[in-house]
Symmetry: C2
Subunit: 457 residues, 2 copies
Amino acid sequence: MSNEKIPYKIYLEESEMPKEWYNVRADMKNKPAPLLNPGTLQPMTAEELAPVFCDELVKQELDDTTPYIEIPEEIRDFYKMYRPSPLVRAYCLEKKLGTPAKIYYKFEGNNTSGSHKLNSAIAQAYYAKKQGLKGVTTETGAGQWGTALSMACSYFDLDCKVYMVKVSYEQKPFRREVMRTYGASVTPSPSTETEIGKKILADHPGTTGSLGCAISEAVEVATKSEGYRYVLGSVLNQVLLHQSVIGLETKAALDKIGEKADIIIGCAGGGSNLGGLISPFVGQMLRGEEDYRIIAVEPASCPSFTRGKYAYDFCDTGMVCPLAKMYTLGSGFIPAPNHAGGLRYHGMSSTLSQLYDDGLIEATSVKQTEVFEAAEYFARVEGILPAPESSHAIKVAIDEAKKCIETGEEKTIVFGLTGTGYFDMFAYEKFHDGVMDDYIPTDAEIAESLSKLPKVD
Amino acid sequence: MSNEKIPYKIYLEESEMPKEWYNVRADMKNKPAPLLNPGTLQPMTAEELAPVFCDELVKQELDDTTPYIEIPEEIRDFYKMYRPSPLVRAYCLEKKLGTPAKIYYKFEGNNTSGSHKLNSAIAQAYYAKKQGLKGVTTETGAGQWGTALSMACSYFDLDCKVYMVKVSYEQKPFRREVMRTYGASVTPSPSTETEIGKKILADHPGTTGSLGCAISEAVEVATKSEGYRYVLGSVLNQVLLHQSVIGLETKAALDKIGEKADIIIGCAGGGSNLGGLISPFVGQMLRGEEDYRIIAVEPASCPSFTRGKYAYDFCDTGMVCPLAKMYTLGSGFIPAPNHAGGLRYHGMSSTLSQLYDDGLIEATSVKQTEVFEAAEYFARVEGILPAPESSHAIKVAIDEAKKCIETGEEKTIVFGLTGTGYFDMFAYEKFHDGVMDDYIPTDAEIAESLSKLPKVD
């Protein structure tokens, strides 16, 4: 093993790090469908988006023609504190499986937020600061996004108001505490700080909250407070743009060692990681330069690609945000309560939805317990304790590597290891104790949720 | 900032990683005093140590003449999964402080155990496996060592029995769960599995355990079980030898960028990190090649260097282990119960104790709340949430960098950032809530504890 030419970890030099993000929409012939104003059903304009998002981010959100967008130097300086992230050759995993496949993973967990979310958080905080804002608001569920944003705001000395789903606030006190360390204010949602929060609490006194409710509160506070805007960690085009740094680094590292991926695998919730990882590779496909097999992995409990519908839907359960065309299970869909970690979002990024609809990427869903089996297997062999979200990709990467044992093919498999599971030990404990189950929504449940999609011809 | 020649993170190439550990004892004129048999008060022989420790580790423990010892290839392969660790240039911290000093830190937290402990855990597991043993036993308090050993044993398919201080077992369920993920059995100590555990439970029915008691249980199980040995994560010479990989990498990285350290700072509990970090630099001092200022930082609540006595003492509170000559507060000394994190050990590695006694290193102690202030400051500026242990070094590094502001000196400060604080958020919460205090033992308390030192001529 030690005589291999390719090292265990491939790091780019600082000088080789991307200086521009890649905007995959520029190379798409079928552009992602625009966001619609829920009142008029007309495409949202920059003016309509400006009260909610920072001006520069609105511009990025609507720009589907510029292929490369410069990463400002201040953001690149921040990236240098925790990037480039390593592209790891999984020698130990290959050996343990006995596969002829070569397995690589891009590891985004070596930063305090524990995931790739920081790549977009720092960009969004930067543009907010540049616009002279006082602060930003957001929601967080599992807490990765809230943590990443807290770190980013602390760096640029911005106020950060996080609305954290109440059940997570109570069950994940350590995540909350990390955010406090970075100076963020963390409020359990629903709260009495907002009109929508008060209304929800009046209607449902014992509620433990939901992501949709937290979004609504964060948006309300942003639009009603002088000098604040709302920021979001996934789904949006701007987020996929920032996350393209993952894919650009991955491609540069593969090029550096003379390797070409055959299969690229990523977990898919709202699409921030998957979209970022695959962007430059999909760009090659769109330009007819290369071909890859790209697999989106989603949880069987929340299967928007594999069992959802491609239609306009609300981005939030509160139905206050613009409509997006996406693969969706309906904005009222709520995954099984025992579902561990993220990937709980009812829809999927418009960009990825269009790519999926055009047949450029495929999708598969996996069950929760098999995901944790793969997670534990991986942790023992590769030494990294993965986040439950990331472990969806691990599961499918292992399956593909096993297929190579049968066929004898030396395929090159690349997957995204989005983060670490240090704050998910409660879920691991359930798994160890054998009390984790695999609830999968019935066809009737999904049909019922989809029957409430907004009517957009 | 971006025009600096030295990158934010200096990584060695895989081929530049150390192939040998450095044994600083070989260059010491005044050798560390030998371990003594508590019955005969004679130096422990290899035969006497063999029932407790693996044969090869006994050899390393007693070897004070061989300067370089080969790192077996299997261990180097494992190191490649998470090493080399980055030497980080703290540009953001320097800028925030406005200091002319150059600050570097060697960051050992980018692995699932969250600390440098893995460097010795994998070595000890390897030698156990090579000897054909079934497994190893150990104790753990805060949990870093237990986690590291679980990972190492999982890699070599060895059984791992961890005795975890009961209060930590209950307060740190997530640490326990990480160990379970790696297949270790974790038993709250005192337990009914051992004679000593049963005796302690009978004498003190409500006890929440102590490190000394957990050591005694782990040693009992190792010596009474066929094919098991006991392993320890700090204090011992063998541990400092393995941890020299930290210092060797640090020195190689500094040499690579043409930088020479003026001040080297490390936190000191039992001495595993500090000893590893400074070994090659102290070696240069011992050989008259270079001069450095080396600072050991210990908690004011457990100040073995700064307020202890250099004398033979028991390594464990159960008084079953050999006697070691070291700076000690007495084996019965128990730090304040509110003390956060590690560095709770009553004594200090014999090697470091001799170096301190010979004036090659200096020591200082810092209070708990000022440590957490430095930790939070660092986290916000450098993006890494540090472990409370590591933050002792941060505090003093910041103080030294501030002195440079006054004097205008461009000193090069290097400190060891031993790990991350993800599992220490309970302590951070106390700090944020203002309920952390700074208990410092009185002179009378220390004198009382020291009055019970064993009588050795």
